[in-house]
């Protein structure tokens, strides 16, 4: 197992290297000059070409692209992702500040998604073709198809403005995470419930389940000890992917609920052509995504003893 993990970690290096190249050159291919934006703002005042040239030189933007890339990647290897052009703060510091907020939000979203997705999926599978099954699957369709921003606004209107149970923006603690977490997790809950249902139904029709029942085991024992574990591999895979997506894609939820987070940081950085911040953030997100997927792969062995990584 250790060798497997070591190999997977090694495989991450070329992936991250490729990600760094792609994001670096995409950012530099986009229109707009960060120096001009810095000086003039989006709707600012007059700026002379001399001032722009001066600032470009200060930022190192007048160096050839390969020099700039080399500077970025050697810094990244040392853990230095540079300094944000617009916020004038080290990128690592900005990411660290925002990441905890996004991680909290994603964990709550994931918790909601797993809890409701699994419960609905399991019950729907056990009561296949019943009214409950139909209703729970309608719920999962709604979860999958509802746009995040619309759901967020709906929750705000109902629970913040009508019922006054929550603050619509800002706030601290677990309470401030409930509505954003539901918003972020509902779509994923729909996917998890559908996948759990179909996977569990398939397992429940296997011969060994019939054998277990024939041996006189209690139904709850059959489901929990024999069926559920074997149906979890595709679900865990999906949960891993969903968690990665939540971390990277919380921007809409963060915007609707006015939460500080990595998503909003990156979107603003893209708009302002803040090269170091975009490059650094994307690199960190890619690393997290790879690590989460590694954890998912490791969990397979735990879920299914037939899987070995020797």
């Amino acid at each position: 197992m250790r060798q497997y993990i070591f190999n997977r970690l090694l495989q991450m290096i070329p992936v991250l290297f490729l990600v760094s190249i792609i994001i670096f050159f995409i950012m530099h291919a986009l229109p707009g000059d960060p120096a001009m934006l810095m000086l003039a703002g989006a709707e600012g005042g007059a700026v002379t070409p001399e001032r722009i040239a001066e600032l470009r030189a200060q930022m190192g933007l007048d160096d050839p692209l390969h020099i700039q890339y080399f500077r970025f990647i050697t810094g990244a290897v040392r853990g230095d992702l540079g300094t944000s052009i617009r916020l004038r703060t080290p990128v690592t510091q900005l990411i660290a500040e925002r990441f905890s907020s996004t991680l909290q939000l994603s964990l709550v979203g994931l918790g909601f998604s797993i809890t409701f997705g699994l419960i609905l999926g399991i019950l729907a599978a056990l009561k296949q073709n019943s009214w409950f099954d139909m209703i729970s699957m309608v719920f999962s369709y709604i979860g999958v198809s509802m746009p995040i921003f619309w759901l967020g606004l709906l929750l705000i209107l109902i629970f913040c403005f009508q019922l006054n149970w929550f603050e619509p923006a800002g706030g601290t603690g677990f309470k401030s995470l409930i509505l954003p977490g539901i918003t972020l997790g509902l779509s994923s809950a729909g996917i998890v419930s559908r996948l759990t249902r179909s996977s569990l139904i398939e397992v429940l029709n296997e011969d060994y389940i019939r054998t277990a029942r024939g041996k006189g085991l209690k139904e709850i024992g059959v489901i929990l000890h024999h069926a559920l574990q074997n149906s979890m591999i595709p679900v865990v895979t999906m949960i891993g992917l969903q968690f990665g997506s939540m971390l990277a894609g919380a921007v809409v939820t963060e915007t609707v609920f006015s939460r500080p987070g990595l998503g909003r940081l990156i979107v603003n950085a893209i708009l302002w052509k803040d090269y170091p911040l975009v490059q650094g953030s994307v690199l960190v997100l890619a690393l997290i995504y790879l690590l989460v997927n590694l954890l998912v792969d490791i969990s397979y062995a735990w879920l299914d003893p037939r899987i070995h990584y020797n």
Binding site: G32, G41, R98, G171, F174
Partner: protein, 563 residues
């Protein structure tokens, strides 16, 4: 077996995961438990009460659009109005632009301009000190001017506003003089925004760190900034009431001010009505009606002198290199109708390069291009644009620089307010113009402008000073990074604008500015549309909240909250 037991607990674990991952109160530095404003049930206006409350104070919460959050709170660097506004809580400037539009002394007791217009002398108050105890004097002011002008600081607009300072002279302990090689008439417009920082504090921190430790002479201390969330200022108990707007001695009434940055319009629209904030700044037009008839809040409207929402015409390439085509667009634009359809008439209609609340507005623009589709159509005919294939869109027929048969397509490039373009689309279609509306981000706008790759490009400048015309219409700014995008080069306009920049006589400058407006409109250099007011929803528990002369500026020196 052990694994299976664990699996049985999966549901419990994942549920606990959500709780463990979200321990309360661990968001760095957040101050989320501010008391929610008490919505008053009494129909009170936003005027001083006849009955004084026992103790004036309160923790004010102001909700603002997220895009008003500065990148840096150091106004010496950041070129945004909101930065300078928040800086005014921390540091009084040398002078202010009072709500009546006049410059009034703040940290400077008075000032003089030399007869040749090349030297400004400021006589400073002698009873002021900074929040860290550093004395406020001529040396401190000199330090601030030199800091802004230091290229290493990377100051944007403020450095330009101060102009080409030749030297900063400390005449005596409380007198400082700025010397120029040529008259610099617009200095006061820059100084009203310029915060005066404590030299001790500015020296203590790196320029990238100082914006988190700002120290000035203002009524509030800079307490906490959680990016993308909020910034909090708390009352400075030793404040001397040095802002002329303040009607009492000593510190301000409010205990604290929290600015919340709201990412979603619908949330901003509802925070005051639902008691989550006391004030919503830049209330979206769609939510204005919610506050027009309510008893619990007051709707305040601020107007911003400037250019309004204008679309500069690219006169350097077809089809807008033809004066008749540009004039046709002006005749085919019905600003009143757009205002009614889109904004229930809440915006100001704009007919020229300056909006109607600008002190140098020329009202002659109102009759220059009355809405007249027939006239617009005939101008297009004369310019060689006819619809001969009957598809409803005109094609070029003998138009210089355009291939015969090319359709009349004009791009309407907007950073926001694209709905104005969509409204124009319908009208322009009637006269055979295919208007393509596109929304572009700021970087793309600047890139397009530099390459002159546009037809109608959004531009808005905000200032009560006529010098904004200089930035947009003086052909010397027709260069990368400049804001003269139309490509018009009119010697008379350039001459007038140079005179505006050099003169300190406000009436004379306005007269010159009116000539500029006339000439620009005769040459149809831009498409004026509307001016966006700044709406504030103010809970009636807030008293003496005072709007400035500019719509997005306000004063909190006398404000307080009643229970």
């Amino acid at each position: 077996m052990n694994k299976r037991v664990c699996l049985n607990c999966l549901l419990v674990i994942v549920f606990l995961l959500s709780l463990v991952g979200c321990a309360p109160g661990d968001q760095a530095g957040a101050t989320g438990n501010e008391p929610a404003p008490a919505a008053s049930s009494q129909p009170q206006g936003n005027t001083p009460e006849a009955e004084e409350p026992a103790k004036k104070g309160g923790d004010l919460i102001i909700a603002v659009p997220a895009n008003l959050e500065p990148a840096s709170f150091d106004g010496h660097i950041d070129p945004f109005q909101s930065t300078w506004l928040y800086d005014s809580f921390i540091s009084d400037p040398l002078l202010i632009l009072a709500p009546n539009g006049e410059y009034q002394p703040a940290l400077a007791e008075r000032w003089e301009l030399s007869e040749d217009g090349k030297s400004w002398t400021f006589y400073l108050r002698d009873d002021v000190y900074f929040q860290d105890g550093t004395p406020f004097n001529a040396e401190a002011v000199k330090y601030n001017f030199e800091r802004v002008k230091d290229p290493a600081l990377g100051s944007a607009q403020l450095s330009d506003d101060l102009g080409p300072i030749k030297s900063v002279e400390v005449v005596d302990e409380f007198t400082v003089r700025l010397n120029y090689d040529a008259p610099w008439a617009t200095l006061l417009d820059g100084l009203r925004r310029m915060p005066i920082w404590s030299p001790t504090a500015a020296d203590k921190y790196d320029k990238n760190e100082f914006d988190k430790h700002l120290v000035g002479t203002g009524p509030f201390l800079f307490t906490e900034w959680v990016a993308n969330d909020h910034v909090t200022f708390t009352r400075w108990e030793d404040y001397g009431g040095w802002n002329p707007i303040q009607n009492h001695e000593g510190p301000v009434y409010l205990n604290s001010v929290t600015i919340r940055f709201i990412g979603e319009e619908a949330v901003l629209g509802g925070v005051v009505a639902n008691g989550n904030a006391h004030i919503a700044q830049e209330l979206p037009a769609a939510y204005v009606v919610d506050y027009q008839d309510t008893q619990d809040a007051t709707l305040m409207t601020g107007y911003q002198a400037g250019t309004g929402l204008q679309w500069v015409m690219n006169t350097t390439s077809p089809p807008l290199d033809q004066l008749k085509v540009r004039q046709a667009l002006l005749y085919a634009t019905d600003q009143d109708e757009i205002n009614e359809i889109l904004y229930d008439g809440l915006y100001l209609t704009q007919k020229g390069p300056l909006n109607s609340v600008h002190p140098c507005y020329w009202d002659g623009v109102e009759t220059m291009y009355p809405f007249d589709l027939e006239k617009a159509a005939s101008l297009l005919e004369e310019a060689g644009w006819r619809d001969e294939n009957g598809d409803g869109i005109r094609e070029a027929h003998g138009v210089p620089g355009v291939e015969n048969g090319a359709p009349l397509i004009i791009r309407f490039s907007a950073l926001h307010h694209e709905e104005i373009g969509e409204a124009l689309q319908l009208t322009y279609k009637e006269i055979g113009i295919d208007l393509k509306v596109e929304v572009i981000p700021g970087p793309v706008q600047l890139d397009r402008v530099n390459q002159r790759d546009f037809e109608l490009m959004y531009e808005r400048q905000r200032s009560p000073d006529p010098r904004i015309l200089d930035q947009i219409w003086n052909s010397k700014y027709d260069q990368p990074g400049g804001w003269a995008w139309s490509g018009l080069k009119i010697a008379e306009v350039d001459q007038l604008l140079e005179e505006i920049a050099a003169s300190s006589d406000i009436e004379y400058r306005c007269e010159l500015a009116k000539d500029v407006q006339r000439i620009v409109m005769e040459n149809a250099g831009m498409l004026p549309t509307l001016s966006q007011p700044v709406y504030y929803a103010v809970d009636n528990s807030v008293k003496d909240f005072l709007l400035g002369a500019e719509g997005n500026w306000f004063f909190l020196n006398n404000a307080y909250i009643v229970d």
